[in-house]
Amino acid sequence: MHGRPRYPRPNTGDPQKLQAAEQRVQLYSRLTSTVLKRLQAGQYDKETLDLAARLLEQNPEVYTVWNHRKRALLATLSKGGDTAAEAVKAELALTQRALEKHPKSYATWHHRRWLVAQHVTSLQQEVDLVNRLLEADERNFHGWGYRQFLMELMQAAPEDEEAYAAAKIDHNFSNYSAWHLKTRLLKKVHHQSPTVTLDDLISAKSSAAAAEERLVPFWALRQELELVTQAFYTDPGDQSPWLYHRWLLGCLLAHAQTGKNKEEIVSLLQQEVAVCKDILELEDTAAPDGKAASSIKWPSLTLAQLHELLCSVAPSSFDNEQTDVRLLYRQLQDIDQLRAGFYTDASKGSAKILVQSAT
């Protein structure tokens, strides 16, 4: 259904090809009927399961067949011993073959997950499999979801998961899936702050104090800002780091809500303003083609967000930032015409995307 070219049109070929195609249909339809008929009659003998495996290798989304395999496996597992071990091995091998050919098959991923949930597999083997699949396609969300499932089962340390995400980003700044994972992990990693004792956690704390504890520490935010800045300079047209950056600004906004550390916040924001202005200057000479437009759009939009944030954090020092913001949004209507409707609303203050990042 996706990515199949229109030409050459199917069924317009030599008679031999047509005959081969016809045979293929016959074989497939006979296989399906045989498999379904037997499975639905409760026939779970080896020959049937082998035929079922053959069908699934061709078409792993035929969920009914996986369902029957689950039933068959449950019966075998309850008997235990070598038969059970062999059956698990066969199921792992089948799902692996299916995933390598069809890495986006919902039914296959679920079958593998179900298998793991029967506690008959090696979790490390699963991690190796998913890591391989994510090497082949770093944006496969089934893979990322499966990895998350495994990490939860293994009670993996957030630091280790963060290292994996960081390695993916190091390999490719455009890996939005990895940036997304970072947003889940950053707070987990830093909440294990050694300065918060168990007694602190147990004793009653004011909600403001508790909220503070959920803040990402400044030193961590600086580190993250440094990382995205590298990404910006590598390719300012790549949206993934900019989207992550907006979230970092939301983390700064959370700090601002506490009313503390205003100077630190302002200093960080001004640093970011300098980065955006620097990138815009570097892009200034580029011709107005599509790529250059997105290289200008992101620092411009971010600049507008930074000005808005500075205005709300330190209103007295920065009121003239307001004019800059409206001008920026007007420019963005030209630079990024597809989203002119958004920029119009943004310039009126009816598009609030700089929001406090959730804990």
Partner: protein, 335 residues
């Protein structure tokens, strides 16, 4: 592929060709595709028939034959399979109800049985499993809520818990994934926004932030992708647009550019719409392309409800027991 200035034969929406394409696809019961898609045929029927309705050609198909086939696909547990030979699943239970709704034949369904099946899929944390085998996905929450709305039994499931589970799947970018912690994807966004709308819980999402992320799905081709740095695909014309429509921010994308992209994905020779220009057309993309055009008010098309993913007229006749987009103003005030 950016559409050229002159779309040539694709400048018009070739509705007659698309209707013929869908009918031809449905009638070909001997090609490989027919057998290979049997397990999700119920959804294929829903996509094809709704597309036909939108272009005014529902009568091209044999209503009685289809209704009988749908009823044959219901199983003892109350759910529907992708076709009579396939196990029950929420995906096909919803598609079955949607097909019956199109024909105004929901009364032929034993609602109690279906509702019991749907309700049995809710987990303690509010999420829904797709079937007895436990796959959890926010799509299934939307499906469950919609089944209940179509059959007028909104309280058969715990709506509050369902909405809370959806909220737990909200990400840093305002979007939603399949499970808590999973990356935002436009398809999941549609189902989560639809679910929250059905559960009267749109206040649980960040409207501006999410709609901004959605409008950033539009690429220079005019088409929409499903996630950052992915290729545009016509089906996102529905997933993104329906969510933007429910949230009153359709004007945040360039509708002319998207319209041209969808039109450019037409197959002017054999009919149908494909995922990208010059790819093979299929019923799925034909439906979502037409549905997207309908949401944008393309002339000559019936209107479609973005929450129910059914024609507005059908939804109005149902007087369903949940908010539909047509029962609210499209420029609903921000919550």
């Amino acid at each position: 592929m950016v559409p050229p200035e002159d779309l040539g034969p694709r400048a018009e929406l070739l509705t007659a060709k698309h209707a013929a394409f869908i009918k031809k696809f449905a009638e070909n019961t001997s090609n490989f595709e027919y057998f290979a898609t049997e397990h999700f045929r119920m959804s294929g029927v829903y996509w094809g028939l709704t597309a036909l309705y939108l272009v005014g050609h529902l009568d091209d198909m044999d209503e009685d034959a289809i209704v009988n086939w749908v009823l044959e696909s219901q199983h003892a547990d109350g759910g529907f399979g992708g076709s009579p030979r396939h196990d029950s699943h929420l995906l096909y239970t919803l598609s079955a109800l949607q097909v019956m709704a199109l024909y105004q034949k929901l009364h032929l369904i034993d609602a109690d049985k279906v509702i019991a099946y749907v309700a049995s899929m809710q987990q303690p944390d509010g999420s829904f499993s797709g079937d007895e085998w436990g796959e959890i996905d926010t799509r299934f929450t939307y499906i469950a809520l919609l089944c209940c709305a179509l059959l007028q039994r909104p309280d058969a499931i715990d709506r509050q818990k369902a909405a809370a589970y959806i909220a737990s799947c909200r990400n840093f970018d305002g979007g939603f994934g399949a499970r808590p912690g999973m990356e935002s994807h436009a398809g999941q966004v549609f189902t989560c926004v639809g679910a929250l709308a059905l559960a009267d819980s749109l206040h649980l999402l960040d409207r501006d932030l999410l709609c901004w992320w959605l409008c950033e799905r539009q690429t220079d081709t005019g088409g929409l992708n499903g996630r950052p740095e992915k290729r545009e695909d016509v089906c996102y014309s529905w997933w993104c647009l329906s969510a933007l429509s429910i949230l009153g921010r359709l004007h945040w994308i360039d509708q002319d550019a998207l319209t041209r992209y969808i039109l450019f994905c037409q197959d002017e020779e054999e009919g149908g719409i494909s995922d990208q220009p010059e790819d093979m057309a299929d019923v799925f993309h034909t439906f979502f392309g037409i549905a997207g055009l309908s949401l944008m008010g393309f002339p000559g098309l019936e209107s479609i409800d973005p929450i129910f993913a059914l024609p507005t007229k059908i939804v109005q006749q149902l007087k369903p027991a949940a908010p539909s987009a047509s029962s609210q103003s499209s420029e609903a005030p921000d919550v």
